[in-house]
């Protein structure tokens, strides 16, 4: 069961059980994007508040498997306080990590590095990346509700 433990690292399980920054807020300073994957039922809403160039808050809500939910929670912590440019870079870095490539900035990915094992489980890639996709879209100004088809 070694490789299963590569996937379900302690950090992932811990964030799944005790999600950080969970729950959305009202207010015009918050922008939200909801992404749904109808084929598996994962349904995540990411909400951000920016102040100038800085992403001050990242919130999330929704339902899905452990990889999907913990990814949103870890992301919310990793991105909080970063500039928009840094956040965009981290989204790219996370995609690299999930593809089994070396991310440029492992240190800033921090706890998100726990998802390194996902690359061995192609069926779970879409679970890990859903909330990062939502964040990426929010960072370039998108909002609303979208279905992801993969």
């Amino acid at each position: 069961m070694n490789s299963i433990n590569d996937l379900y690292r302690q950090v992932i399980v811990e964030h799944y059980k005790n999600p950080r920054n969970k729950g959305l807020k009202e207010g015009s300073e918050y922008r939200r994007l909801r992404l749904k994957n109808p084929s598996c039922g994962d349904d995540v809403t990411i909400q951000i508040k920016t102040n100038g160039n800085v992403v001050e808050e990242v919130l999330h809500d929704g339902s899905g498997c452990s990889i999907c939910c913990s990814s949103a929670s870890v992301m919310s912590e990793v991105i909080k306080g970063k500039t928009i440019e840094e956040a965009e870079g981290l989204v790219e870095d996370f995609y690299s990590l999930i593809k089994g490539e070396e991310p440029r900035d492992e240190e800033s990915l921090d706890e998100a590095m726990a998802f390194v094992g996902v690359s061995q489980f192609p069926a779970r890639v879409k679970c890990a990346t859903l909330s990062w996709k939502a964040l990426g879209a929010l960072l370039i100004g998108e909002e609303g509700v979208k279905d992801i088809h993969e």
């Binding site: 299963i4 799944y16 059980k17 339902s63 899905g64 498997c65 452990s66 489980f121 679970c127």
Partner: protein, 404 residues
Amino acid sequence: MLDTKSIKKDFPILINNPNLTYLDSAASSLKPACVINKIKEYYEEYGVNVHRGVYGLSYKATDEYEETREVVAKFLNAKAEEIVFTKGATSALNLVAASYGMANINEGDEIIVSELEHHSSVMPWQEIVKIKKAKLVFVPLDSEGRITVENFKKVLTSKTKVVALTYVSNVMGYVSPIKEIIELAHVVNATVIVDAAQAAPHLKIDVKELNADFLAFSAHKMLGPSGLGVLYGKYKLLNSMNPIEFGGDMNDYVEKYDSTFKDAPYKFEAGTPLISEVIAFKEAIYYLEKIGMDNIHTHEQKLMNLAMAGLKEIDGITVYNKTCETGVISFNINGIHPHDAATIFDQNNVALRAGHHCAQLITSWLGCVGTLRASFYLYNDAHDVEVFINSVKQAAEYFKEWNI
């Protein structure tokens, strides 16, 4: 039990993947060598078009193609002209809705479906209802999630024009009392469309005895090639229907502003059909008949009982269809998303399905995002059940540590 040792040898995929425990036949069955070889035979020996050529090879291909129609007809106790080859059960069910539904459903009419339906048995009717301002009516399921005659009576009215129901549920494995339902529906002159995609591979079907108006299934779930399905329709009904695809081979005379069509079933098979698939499909039916549909059903029930007994001993799981009479088990590890659990099975080379199984209505009814589904077929044996049960145990124990 069937002689699975020798059956397994007929399936090259099981020889090439000796550690595979295949429990996903409800999604698609494996294919025996006789089917694969027949496809090869067609392409290598007489791989030309059907119904058109005026040369020997084309006659040979046409004979092989039409022979399958006879074989399918006999398999269902129907007539050859009542068998339409389609791209699958989905396409067959869509054909009935788009042709029969569009011509016969009017404002205020009622169409009975259920929450046990596969998406392709309910979605085409959702579209018809929108266009025709008709009404979709759901048979209330009983506490186990079954369609019952009693509940069907509650929704059957003089306004009912179409009844579109599943014969065997692909998530719960329950067998619907379809014969009684058809009898009742005919009293109010409603037309009954049976989704037999999950029934045809596992049960003996006699369309005359059922008195079904239409019945649809897919070849790939019953050892046949993918991409092919069958629509059975009573000939009078079929021949009264308009085609929904027009063009090659389905016409008689084509003039500038109008054309005439061939009779059913040919008017519904526009274009070059799935020739190799149809030709090879009869080998699948021969194979099933050689083993015997009743024997297959009994075999699956034995595996099912064995599996259910094993599952009973495992804590922390929920089985949704404990009383199921076919070889389908839907379950979850408590508190664990089916896709999380599925990864454990995948690691053990146990192929099963996780998710909503193209039947979101029943997973909603069950109140879950999806289920894990193990399904048995004629090539599964007690060892497969053992591997399955051990994997469930392993998964339940693994996730217990998460303490959710």
